[in-house]
Symmetry: C2
Subunit: 611 residues, 2 copies
């Protein structure tokens, strides 16, 4: 019934590996993926408190941090549209001090289930580099000395030479080993569990990789019913303009021109939202000049992934994947680098070294503004001309960051610490320390509220209100008003928790709503979930996650935005003159959520049956 | 009398630091610098043998390896022309398995004497990263955890922030830390003790840096006599066409066109000696397009150093030094990269990361030929198009090598192991594992004999017969004949031992001969050395060094050249049709040396008063 029924628990401090059963009561209330992981974290916090360890004292790089790789009931089910993903979470992020959370495609998620497990919980930390091999129900901690130091592609190739092709590898690159605060976990070469530095947590545990594979297969509880709802869902995805045409044809990069035309494509560290040259780095230009072919994650018919190459010049790379919209924006538009070849190379290096493209590009852009405004002593740049638009400097900063070499050691801390360190904290475009993604909320107010209230920090994929505000899905709403945005954000946040706990691809939600999810999940689990129940599960997960970050000290004052977005009116374009009127939206949002000062009330918790 | 009289002995295994007196009997026979270090090594080998450790079992990265930083009686003496250098040696090189030996300018050498010491002997290895501070006669081992991982410039800047500007720093970069077999020790930013991987030995000892400085000053024994001979020597240097005009005006890069015109500038991994495009990377072009100003080592009036910048483009670097002739050749001509901006950037990265430019460029060139001939599986290159002439690929391979990332982990082993590993050992242009420098001996036979017989492996600066063969100094001899070359090589090798033990800059020898050295050294030490005695000292050093490498197993068969130089006639240019007739020269050379099968005879050793 969707689940494999087993959680693999690995303690790297004492080298033990054991199997626990999935608790079906928890699954019924939190599904899997992110939801189940958050529930496990909550138990850890209670245990730590009993042991006298305050949540605020949890060191992201300490033995006490916990890393969870989680699939959900949908993962790896043939016919569940776009269910090739997994979710990874850490109790605490080195970048934000909040909960760490990231999601990745490829095939690693399904392959974990094929190995016989729904989740892996990693406790403690190893003295020496190790990797974990989980094959056909059997798990083993192995020595990783010979692969420590390797880049992502090398690591994967080397482990596959040992294990064979019928496995999938998730690993960290040098950035994770070197504890860069926004290091990724990478899988299947170019797939990234980016954001919030889960790769650095993995690095701190000296865990280089997890190899998964096997011959087990998850099955839906009600195969006939599932066949029917699966066909229906697949059909909706095919007919939807975004999932049926836009994403297959241009990938996520289709958004570059769309978002720039809406006047909210942040340019040069968010100094404006309009870039007259944006087409130089658009999805259309990518398709015309650099695309080789499309590529799909496991079991996905959309195939929004891009295989690309830069055949000649300084930024040559003969085989790469991506870049996605967010990466193009962060490494290109935000840094003012209007060269798609440089962006492709930069994106490739981020994948190879294991770095989050959004945080990397945004931190470079922040540094460029710091340089432009004279905050950075010249000698620290060691001869690199780190100014907006300098493609070579942008690319060079990536490997410098991964290895913390020269100025890279400052960039490796992320934009918040960087900007603080050099005396201009307002130039970090981040929320709770997490660099913001590619939509200026001065021209799409809902996403501003999402950024401000996201539990993991400045995040677009826990409540992607760009969909109604700009793309018109499921319906077009006014992007410049704050009216009704609180409800949209709450609904999207709750629903996204369902998606990330199912675990499924967020892109499914352009075509599928909570009703579809209720039907699909019911057929897979056999539980007959209603739409309301599904949304309640989502709300429960969001609130429990919030409860955890409250324990770390986050409250209403942290649900905010950079000053630039609150006080500096957008200088031009469709959103000219606008700022984000956050306070009003937040007030309404807290009311809808049943929160006070960013904290769930006891009543709300009781209503959601949170312990 | 030239010496400070003290040797600092540091044991990194037990953390002890002690001072020993210079043994003046040894100094009289071996001067200082290289000579004295070789004499110390000989004692270590005898001790190890007594302890049951065979010289052949000495692990270059083991506790048993010994690293010596040595100045000589001339170092830091005001008025001794070009005496701003120091010599560094290790008992065994990771690259060659022979003795490791390198020499560097800047000001570190004099500053070691100003700190009160002639030499530092480093034994053992530390568990944790450390650095050594030697200030005003006092030495201390300090924690280097916070600087471990830093690049060369960062390390120097950070240590100077602690100690103040009145010091000099010698350190390793990431390449040394990561045990790249041809890692340098760098000092005063861009000055390199390159060749034979002394930086990797320092890295294996977890010794990040040595800071030196102080207020002591060495003095000549006979100041009035010294004043006179000093003036005379300075005058000769000023009048000499190379030291008085060529080097000050164009630096060493003046040689690019000169050597190319002679038809012996190795192109594309030594496939030919003529490159019609060489002027693109010549000293003249460097001066025209990239030079900012000249720069001198301590106490040198020549100022052959170049301060350069690439102001824009992909290879931008706003401040750099060099590149020297050898670096331009290795990184540019040998790799077929005819872009001086890329070569400047590559040279800069080698300095920053602590890599030997000759071995780095040559190993890349070797890889390029391996790629061209199909020896390297494509997937190992990870999308980098490593073919001759690809500037971006060449530059990228440098940081990949320093961090052993991707294909860089193979390059980090040097060309000999690389070529062997991929099945084409004949494509490594090296002798005893050390990559050859920038003169094709098919058109300058003497330098071929120098390469073959150099104790540290393929080396041009232990017997620079290019001086008479090509430059016509002290007289022009026929470069294409083998007649008389054995004598030239022997004389130059012996004399160079004197220079490296004095310690002085090799460039002084364009203008000064053994007679001048005898006068200068006599005035400094007070010993009244004759020209014959000086040359005997040189011969003694060369033979003792040879005795040591014999102990490692090197014999006559290792005194050879790559097959390409012995069997493939030069395809074009002034040396067209020539190979190196090595055997004949070697026979004559061994006879002159009093060696059999590359080994000094007991009679010869007795004659030289070697124990």
């Amino acid at each position: 019934m969707g689940y494999m029924g087993k959680i693999l628990k690995v303690n790297l401090s004492d080298g033990t590996v054991k199997t626990e059963k999935i608790d079906m009561d928890i699954a019924r209330k939190y599904l899997g993926g992110k939801g189940y992981a958050v529930r496990i974290f909550y138990d850890y916090l209670q245990r730590y408190k009993k042991e006298g360890i305050s949540p605020r004292d949890i060191n992201p790089f300490g033995e006490e941090n916990v890393l969870i790789f989680a699939t959900g009931p949908a993962t790896g089910i043939v016919g569940f549209p776009k269910s090739g993903r997994y979710h990874v979470m850490a109790l605490r992020s080195p970048l934000t001090g909040s909960i760490a959370s990231a999601n990745s495609g490829g095939r690693w998620g399904p392959f974990l289930k094929f190995a016989g497990f729904d989740m892996i919980v990693i406790e403690g930390k190893s003295e020496e580099p190790v990797y974990l091999e989980v094959l056909d129900g059997h798990a083993e901690i192995k020595c990783a000395k010979s692969i420590w130091g390797m880049n992502v592609f090398d690591t994967e190739r080397t482990l596959k030479e040992r294990v064979g092709e019928r496995c999938s590898v998730a690993c960290i690159g040098p950035a994770g080993e070197n504890l860069v605060y926004f290091a990724n976990i990478m899988n299947d070469e170019h797939r990234a569990a980016g954001r919030t530095g889960v790769g650095a947590v993995m690095g701190s545990k000296k865990l280089k990789a997890i190899v998964v594979g096997g011959n087990e297969r998850p099955q839906p509880a009600k195969p006939d019913e599932f066949d029917e709802v699966s066909k229906e869902a697949m059909n909706k995805i095919k007919k939807n303009p975004v999932t049926g045409e836009g994403l297959p044809k241009y990938g996520t990069a289709i958004l570059v021109n769309v978002i720039n035309n809406a006047g909210i494509l942040p340019f040069k560290n968010w100094q404006t939202g309009v870039n007259p040259e944006a087409d130089k780095i658009s999805g259309e230009t990518l398709a015309e000049k650099y695309l080789i072919k499309n590529k799909s994650c496991w079991g996905c018919a959309i195939g929004c992934g891009r295989v690309t190459a830069v055949k000649q010049g300084c930024f040559q790379i003969l085989y790469s994947e991506g870049p996605e919209y967010e990466s193009i924006w962060a490494l290109g538009n935000s840094t003012g680098v209007m060269q798609l070849d440089a962006v492709i190379k930069a994106n490739h290096l981020c994948d190879e070294l294991g770095l989050d493209t959004i945080s990397m590009g945004s931190t470079i852009a922040c540094a460029m503004e710091l340089v432009e405004k004279g905050y950075i002593p010249e000698e620290l740049l060691e001869g690199v001309d780190l100014r907006f638009g300098n493609a070579a400097a942008m690319v060079e900063m990536i490997w410098r960051t991964a290895y913390k070499s020269g100025f890279g050691k400052y960039l490796a801390l992320g934009s918040k610490r960087l900007a603080e360190m050099f005396g201009a904290p307002e130039l970090s475009m981040s929320v709770k320390g997490l660099e913001l993604p590619a939509y200026d909320p001065r021209g799409a107010k809902g996403i501003g509220l999402t950024y401000a209230t996201a539990n993991r920090g400045g995040c677009h994929v826990t409540g992607y209100t760009i969909s109604p505000e700009i793309l018109g899905l499921p319906e077009k709403i006014d992007s410049l008003t704050i009216e009704g945005k609180a409800q949209w954000v709450k609904t999207f946040q709750d629903f996204t928790c369902v998606v990330n706990s199912t675990v499924n691809c967020l892109f499914s939600t352009f075509a599928l709503g909570a009703e579809d999810y209720a039907k699909l999940l019911s057929a897979v689990t056999g539980w007959n979930l209603t739409t309301e129940e599904v949304m309640k599960i989502g709300e429960r997960i969001y609130n429990l996650e919030r409860l955890i970050i409250n324990e770390y000290g986050f409250n209403g004052k942290d649900d905010t935005l950079p000053k630039r977005l609150l006080q500096e009116p957008m200088p031009e374009g469709p959103a000219k003159g606008h700022v984000v009127e956050l306070d009003k939206m937040k007030e309404e949002y807290y009311k809808l959520r049943g929160w006070v000062d960013g904290k769930p009330t006891p009543e709300k918790l009781k209503e959601l049956d949170i312990p």
